[in-house]
Symmetry: C2
Subunit: 332 residues, 2 copies
């Protein structure tokens, strides 16, 4: 294993210390493993808290800031955070308006966020939770009942985060988060497996010309393996799966993310995006907004995920609202 680390068991502590040093707008509790906004919680604002296993950076810590998350709870690599982290985060950011937990649909995350919600409620904090489950590749996966949660997390955090920033109350913010999740589908392909620091070897083996169709962000198996084809054909496979699950009508507007899994050159992500544009244009579907880059990674996995959100006018307006986080920043 070749990694730029000091020791597998120190990766998260060292990285969190680095995040703290790099981003003065963040407040990082390295020991407690909670990242919040340095300015503290907005008074009277619904707080958004997310978290999950590390290794998917910039998710979630990179999305803490004005217009998006109030706190992120990083677990060990590919391991759920523990309830104490989410409880600490909820207590730190609740200003009386309640807390929305944004939870990717993995069994460990769901259990731990649920326990944290109960503990927080015991302390008088109102908590709602949204479960993100956008990955249409497989119905159940390793460690998951139902669909896996992947790229839609970014859309949920951005759009519901904007509504919270604008003063939306907890039921409204939770409803918007659920609406965004329900409107969003993702599908990923892997060109290589990723290697966790603890395991020290790739999570699975792919042949020299093989790709995994429908891979999960921890390297969970997809639908099948295939010989690699053109970017155009690969995009068609992804979009066929997405649109089979959620058809789009001519004239509909979307937000699309072409997301690198960690080791894919940006040049290739733009090639992929160009194919997505062409494929959706052929169906008269508009890409109103987009993200092309590394947003929900899988350590050093080569590959790409495509996420399509059927966006209404309200979602688009919230998407455009100002955001100021390490990984997503626009507006004033």
């Amino acid at each position: 294993m070749k990694k730029l680390i000091n020791a597998p068991e120190r990766v998260l502590d060292d990285a969190l210390a680095g995040i703290a040093a790099a981003h003065p707008d963040l407040s990082v509790d390295v020991e407690g493993r909670v990242i919040t906004r340095a300015g503290g919680a907005g008074q009277g604002k619904v707080a958004l808290v997310s978290g999950g296993g590390s290794g998917h950076e910039p998710l979630h810590g990179g999305f803490v800031g004005t217009g998006m998350l109030d706190a992120a709870c990083p677990g060990e690599v590919f391991t759920s955070p523990v309830p104490d982290q989410m409880l600490t985060a909820a207590k730190a950011v609740d200003s009386g308006a309640g807390v929305l937990f944004v939870v990717k649909n993995y069994t460990g995350d769901r259990l731990n966020f649920r326990m944290a919600a109960e503990l927080a409620e015991d302390e008088g904090i109102t908590v709602e939770s949204v479960t993100v489950d956008d990955d249409v590749a497989v119905q159940d996966s390793t460690g998951t009942a139902g669909r896996r949660g992947t790229g839609a997390t970014v859309f949920v955090e951005k759009i519901a985060g904007a509504l919270a920033e604008q003063g939306g109350d907890l039921p409204s913010v939770a409803a918007m988060a659920n609406r965004v999740n329900a409107a969003t589908r993702s599908f990923a392909v892997a060109l290589s497996a990723c290697t966790t620091p603890e395991a020290g070897r790739p999570g699975f083996e792919l042949g020299a010309d093989e790709i995994e169709i429908g891979v999960g962000i921890h390297g969970e198996p997809g639908r099948r393996r295939e010989t690699i084809r053109s970017a155009r054909d690969t995009v068609a496979v992804c979009l066929d799966a997405i649109l089979a699950d959620q058809p789009l009508a001519a004239g509909e507007e979307t937000i699309v993310m072409v997301n690198g899994l960690g080791a894919t050159p940006l040049l290739e992500l733009y090639v992929v995006f160009n194919e997505v544009v062409a494929a959706l244009a052929a169906q008269n579907v508009t890409i109103a907004r987009n993200l092309v880059g590394n947003y929900v990674t899988s350590l050093d996995m080569a590959g790409v995920s495509i996420t399509v959100c059927r966006a209404d006018a309200e979602m688009l307006a919230l998407w455009d609202a100002p955001v100021n986080t390490p990984a997503l920043r626009w507006g004033s």
Copy 2:
């Protein structure tokens, strides 16, 4: 070779079409291979034009926008753009105040930018050029007389770009660009080689535990190969080389970039940054500003480069000035 492309000879056209579709703030001439700001050139403003081989994204196209570049000229992968591209760009963005060419120190780039400067002068455009040569790993390299130009390019484009945006004239902007380059040093290590679409196989071979110390951004050889060590030791090797070339006194302020070469997880880049912080703090050197992420990549190479700029107050103020590009965005 596993890549998300349609064909090696179509990579650049397809990627440029994707960039055009993804970024409405950019105007992309796919055929002519010139990226400019969609809003056109600022009247009376000195224009900054850069370019170089593709494969280092987001450099340079991702840095076109307010406060940074006016135009970027992408060559084929790892191949210099041709003079016609820079001439077209210069004509498109010159508003009478002149053009600064930002050129990384590779023989092909230097020759082609020099020819473009002569052609532009023939057409009545005043051109100054700055050569970026910050990589202290080797004195001469493959295809390079003198040092290679790498991470400092981002600092030159940001800081000189801010001065141009504020109305600095061509001699001032060129002088600032040269000052930033002179104040900046970089050093990189590779954990793996990259594979160009044309070659289809890694540019060099590394053993299972080997890293290349002082690698170039096209995979040029460095100083030596070593067995991989801890992030702390690796950072020490990089900083020793940088500080041997440009010592820093206690109390000095720096801008530091920890840059992923394409396939390195962000988690590891933060681990590396944490070690840079500790090492410089031990010398009472302050990191006043930082970038941690993928800014000057080498396709799918795993590894990291560290860039240190000894920054004075004027540079820091220009660094903080607003910037609005696909890859760097802050301020109002």
